[in-house]
Subunit: 222 residues, 2 copies
DNA sequence: GGGGAAGTCTTACGGGCGTTCGAATTTGGC
DNA sequence: GCCAAATTCGAACGCCCGTAAGACTTCCCC
């Protein structure tokens, strides 16, 4: 709230992110807690305590706990989809509008996997999004189910790249690929680390991305 | 409880499943509701109402709501793992103890995918198990994380089938395959149906199994 | 520097939750 | 047919939750 009066640090008045400080504290704390423990297991009191703000803040700034969850979901989904769309667009430019399977898959998988990096600013956001997919409110689930416009850009690109396959087959293979992606929860990494006795390290996301792309591309080439 | 006094229908005294009738009603109703709506979204009152029994039944027969969830999880996991272990055993017998990748993956994926069939008795159980993996209690999550003995039989078989690959690579590919499997929730099918405008039908589980096996095998062959 | 808006704080309400208790009922062995 | 154990039942307890109300404080513009 003060930056507008602070002439020196005027560059801080960037984005629309710089809203009421309290609102942002709530947003960040809630995203983190939801991502780590799940929506239902985190109370409004947990959030406001972690954010160091008053209990009433959630309802004042967001309207309700559900609306808070939805706003986090909306903002992060838009961010992620923007990055993906940009990569797909670049792939189109590089390939005269007909990118090969590998480049389409790269546009789909690279942004979320980059978010997974240990020092990435959006590391926790990706966990949030993966969780919201299965544990979100009815509203979120409805949107995931019906709003497929973003995903359609990728399925169309894949259909164009593999006109020899039946559309049904392409859709299933995309489904499989998304399954691989959505399996990247912390808990699953823990399990994998136990199974492999520590030989797998999810910290190297570039290597993970390469592995996953190779696996998915081979699946599509089958 | 009557079957023991009912001489004629003595064949009904099979398994240990035939416990107190009320206990079974609760078990079945809870499994269904948990699978459809999630653990946190289903109250003890919902369960007992659906089962047509008294509210106190859950605590009387199972101790607590958490313990009920755990018992369902334990029983269904054991069932599924038994079927998988049997198939892996058969694959070992057919191949002198060194089954190829495809047969190992088939042993891993076939039982759960068979459960997915629209008329299969365990259709709802699989949805329950997939959900419990991410929405379960701390106890369940702890077991999933630390008890990898069952899964190790499969990773060992895969390591033996592909000694040319680094173990790390094999573990990751198994992780990807499991991701594909765990993505088979009703909600994801719905989404896929919308995206493909109805051309995909998850009702034909044999076709789905074939597709998934082909995809995963190709991923392993990469 | 005054006034209206925006934000923050304390407090509490109403409700749903898992669980428990004691009484009532049913069951099974003799 | 009786008695003790097992089960079912209705009712309530205590807790935590999301949300709202109202007083108070801070901010911003004129």
């Amino acid at each position: 709230m003060s930056p507008t009066t602070d002439a020196i640090a005027s560059h801080e008045v960037e984005a629309a992110e710089t809203e009421a400080a309290t609102k942002n504290l709530v947003f960040v704390a809630a995203e983190r807690l939801f991502a780590l423990h799940g929506f239902q297991n985190v109370s409004v009191r947990d959030i406001t305590a972690a954010a160091g703000v008053n209990l009433a803040s959630v309802n004042y700034h967001f309207g309700s706990k559900d609306a808070l969850l939805f706003e986090i979901f909306r903002r992060r989904t838009a961010e992620l989809n923007r990055e993906r769309a940009r990569m797909l667009h670049e792939a189109n430019d590089r390939n005269a509008g007909k990118p090969p399977v590998r480049e389409v898959l790269a546009a789909l998988l690279t942004p979320p996997l980059r978010w997974l990096a240990p020092d990435h600013e959006r590391r926790i956001s990706l966990q949030f999004l993966i969780r919201a997919r299965s544990e979100g409110t009815d509203e979120i689930r409805q949107i995931l189910k019906t709003d497929v416009s973003h995903l359609r850009r990728f399925s169309d690109a894949l259909l164009a790249a593999r006109p020899d396959l039946s559309p049904e087959e392409v859709y299933w293979r995309l489904h499989f690929t998304l399954g691989m992606l959505h399996n990247n929860r912390f808990a699953e990494f823990d399990r994998l680390n136990v199974l492999s006795e520590g030989t797998t390290s999810e910290g190297d996301v570039e290597a993970l991305l390469a592995r996953m792309l190779a696996f998915a591309e081979a699946g599509f080439a089958a």
